[in-house]
Symmetry: C2
Amino acid sequence: MADDQLSRVFAALADPTRRDMVARLAAGDATVGELADPYDVSIQAVSKHIKVLAEAGLVSQTKDAQRRPCHLEAEVFELMTKWIERYRQQAQERYERLDAVLAQMRGDEQPNHPHLQQGAAS
Amino acid sequence: MADDQLSRVFAALADPTRRDMVARLAAGDATVGELADPYDVSIQAVSKHIKVLAEAGLVSQTKDAQRRPCHLEAEVFELMTKWIERYRQQAQERYERLDAVLAQMRGDEQPNHPHLQQGAAS
DNA sequence: TTTGTCTTCAACCATTTAGTTGAACAAGCC
DNA sequence: GGCTTGTTCAACTAAATGGTTGAAGACAAA
């Protein structure tokens, strides 16, 4: 997998177990053991999942005696939404532009949107 | 990998090459060959990437003679943003609640943390 | 019909991933 | 000190991923 953060975040959330853990953590911090409880896999496996989430910057861990409470880091979500929004919006605009062109082709002669340009991507 | 759509979408976007293709497609439809052009990998590899994006519902392909123009399907983005927003918001609220509790424990009149700028607790 | 272009399929290889078990480490409890 | 609890590390396995090359399918052009 690629080593940039966005890739790590998307990859981390591509696993339903890990998304589930994020959901759990959104409701409140939890230790590794507490997080592992609902699942039918070894605690080591859960520990690995948490490591993946942590390396993506989605959770942080602190120390409490032997325990390692996990905390959701919500800021990273913005990294994703920003990326998503950029292209969602761009696609939306393009769609609307196409719509205008279709309207024009349908015969109305408003000379308003003369340029349907498919430039190279950035 | 898990077989639910959300997993497929996240997994598809975990690859920078595929994110790049999405960016390209947001600017306009493109054939497989056109998409492959900027990259240093075989056209078959690109074809596979497109297949992954298509199976995630991010891209659709139509027919134009031998060509297979790819089109970005922006609706799927909403599936992601919905999931993300849910937990981002939840975590944010929890954070603010915690903040209020801390303020209360401090016994006092300063409702805000220094690092929590917005959302005056009321 | 033959040839060339665009794309996908199939088989293969190297690397990564998600899981396992067993051992180790660290801190509280007796 | 010696046990118990919570977590991680290490080594291993099976499956998935991203890449390759070669062949084949589908269509256009000659």
